[in-house]
Symmetry: C2
Subunit: 114 residues, 2 copies
DNA sequence: CGTGTAAGGAATTCTGACACG
DNA sequence: CGTGTAAGGAATTCTGACACG
């Protein structure tokens, strides 16, 4: 996913009625999940909520878990765990790339010595 | 761009007020360009227009051309030319892939004969 | 806890039209 | 041709609250 596409996914431009249609959740449910800190829509000048496609995906995950009887507090914890996991993986990825870069450099050096 | 990301770009979910903010165009202008067939927003049950990120990009292109004094009729022609060009390129791409496939098959055959 | 609902107000969007140039 | 604007109506969204379980 390049920068441009990311921006589509993260841009908060969708109003709550459309989100409701897309997710099958009621307005009440969507607003309640915000109250429980599960999502954070953007508020424009007037105070109208605007959601991203990312928010919609999160809401669909929430809907699945709620159907399985998971409470919002639990869902919040799970989401935070997931978040930390992604951060770790992202860091590991950077480390891996740096290591690879060093190996490549060594390889070039040895080849030069032959 | 994979299917998922395409769907974000093409999904018509943004209302005209937000499009106006994002493009800097007035509601009147956006509706007028639709009247001139330059864009085709989705209409929901109530009749409210819904735009995609793609529509927004098109509108920004239109805005640039209008600033250069290009009339909507001309812009429409240009857009249709562009569309045909993209179609040709897409077809050429398929042909190229088929040809490559045949070459690969021949190569495998000859190698087998050795 | 999670969700429905009625309440009143404010902002959005729609269409058709008149205006200007 | 392209755009602004006032007009009247319909649908959207917001918040705080009461209800149920």
């Amino acid at each position: 996913m390049d920068k441009q596409e990311r921006s589509y996914k993260d841009k908060k431009v969708i109003s709550i009625g459309t989100v409701s249609e897309l997710t099958g959740l009621s307005l009440r449910q969507i607003r309640y999940y915000e109250e429980r800190k599960l999502i954070a829509p953007f508020r424009n000048d007037h105070g109208t909520r605007k959601y991203s496609f990312n928010d919609i995906e999160t809401l669909m995950d929430i809907a699945d878990k709620r159907e399985d009887g998971v409470q919002t507090t639990e869902i919040l914890k799970e989401m935070r765990l997931q978040e930390r996991k992604r951060e770790r993986e992202s860091k590991d990825d950077i480390k891996k790339k740096m290591l690879q870069g060093q190996l490549n450099a060594q390889f070039r050096n040895r080849r030069g010595q032959l």
